[in-house]
């Protein structure tokens, strides 16, 4: 390759973990620099939005976009980078699926602001002042009515999920881009299998659950399937590629990698799995067992509310 690749990195509604994930490739970052020029990376290099606006359309080869779209600014930059980039990669779970922030979609924008500025326990705001969008010449981007995954705002070429994406996945993505050996548009740059495939724990076929537990309730057996021990592990409904990192350290999978290609709704599939675990034929007892699942949406749609069938219905219906 004679000409160096032009790469851009952007963080929208993001925690910054994804930026660190890029650095997790360690010394290989030097290889990246060898083949590519980084044209935009707010966290690392001082290039202004206007500089980007000034770029020719499609002048950036690949943009790695992390974070969801929560504010007007996020949406604007998404659109901008889409225009300037040949390839747009949704980087990280927030960008791919809306992420944790998506749980905010269970409440309205007003409720969220009210909670954040007025009622939260750490707030001392007796005058109940809320942020102003306009002050003199300053315009502060507004919060959008909901949280969106990147592809709900702009077209996305590839998805690289994970919270944050595993270094190995990041590196293989970069390699693929460098070599031009890319899959079809819209592909997820991770294996199309579930975490269970990589999980070393023993699994059995019987229903065993009389009560669902949470990690702080007990010390799980390190060799046995966590689901069989009553912990809700999203592994069966979650794409692999993370090397089963969480389950390897005795923590249940939270589902950051999203579902596999064939699955429309990660949470819905997980409901089937959990239903299969309940050990009771008595409807009343079943209800009781189900009641031990605390916060089902927060558990089953930790990263995926924005992209869930129900919550994206409005998007589709247009």
């Amino acid at each position: 390759m004679t000409e160096k690749l032009k790469l851009a990195f952007y963080w929208a509604a993001s925690c910054g973990g994804c930026e660190v994930a890029i650095l997790d490739i360690d010394e290989k970052v030097l290889d990246v620099v060898a083949i590519a020029d980084i044209v935009f990376w707010p966290v690392a290099i001082d290039i202004k939005y206007n500089d980007v606006r000034a770029m020719d359309d499609k002048s950036i080869d690949v943009t790695f976009f992390n974070g969801s779209i929560r504010t007007e600014e996020n949406a604007e930059l998404a659109r901008l980078l889409r225009a300037k980039s040949k390839t747009l990669v949704a980087f990280g779970s927030c960008s791919c699926y809306g992420g944790v922030i998506g749980l905010g979609n269970l409440s309205s924008k007003e409720e969220l602001l009210h909670r954040a500025y007025i009622t939260s326990d750490s707030t001392d705001n007796p005058e109940q002042i809320k942020p102003q969008l306009h002050y003199k010449e300053v315009h502060i981007p507004d919060v959008l009515p909901a949280n969106y995954a990147l592809d709900q705002v702009v077209d996305v070429d590839y998805y690289l999920p994970g919270c944050p994406p595993k270094d190995t996945l990041v590196w293989s993505a970069i390699e693929a881009i460098a070599s031009g050996n890319l899959p079809a548009k819209g592909a997820v740059l991770a294996p199309n299998l579930t975490v269970c495939h990589d999980c070393p724990r023993e699994k059995h076929d019987e229903r065993t659950i009389k009560e669902f537990k949470r990690v702080y309730n007990f010390q799980p057996d390190e060799t046995k399937c966590l689901l069989e021990q009553g912990l809700i592990c999203m592994g069966p409904a979650t794409r692999s590629g993370c090397d089963a990192s969480c389950v390897s350290v005795n923590m249940p999978c939270r589902g950051c990698m999203g579902p596999t290609d064939q699955v429309f709704d990660q949470g819905a599939k997980m409901i089937s799995v959990l239903g299969g675990l309940i050990d009771s034929d008595d409807p009343e007892e079943v209800k009781e067992i189900v009641s031990t699942i605390v916060d089902p949406v927060g558990t089953l749609y930790y990263f995926g509310v924005s992209k869930s069938l129900i919550k994206q219905s409005g998007v589709k219906r247009r």
Binding site: L106, P296, L309, V315, R317
Partner: protein, 158 residues
Amino acid sequence: MVVTDEKTIENTDWEPRIVGFLCRWCSYAGADLAGISRLDYPPNSIFIKVPCTGRVDPTFVLKAFADGADAVFISGCHLGDCHYIEGNYKTMRRFEILKETLKQLGIHERRFQLTWISASEAQKLKEFLTSMTSSIKELGPIQLPILAPLQKEDKQDD
């Protein structure tokens, strides 16, 4: 802080749309019987035949809601009578979790129901549909307003 759909002022034109997943051996046969028996029931329900309620993937339910159903119900053989031995038990267990999840997602629990109707219970089917339809009419059209559409202004391939 759960957002639930609110009752809106009744629009006389509006009729609820209800999707029912009926198992092939009992409830669908019961619906057949209702038809043969010339039983009247509200036309708001549309039935989807599945071999067993155990086939009903929660995704189907979500899909139905997402596609605009005002209510969804699942109807199968009575517990213990499942043609496939225990498929309806599996449904029953799933249903409970799904119902809780839907509640949290803002869908009124009356909009998602599970019932057992055998092949001979055409009358029961009629009663169920009648009561469900009127109950949904009371609730009004479903509102899933949260993720309002955001225009993809710069969409290139449009």
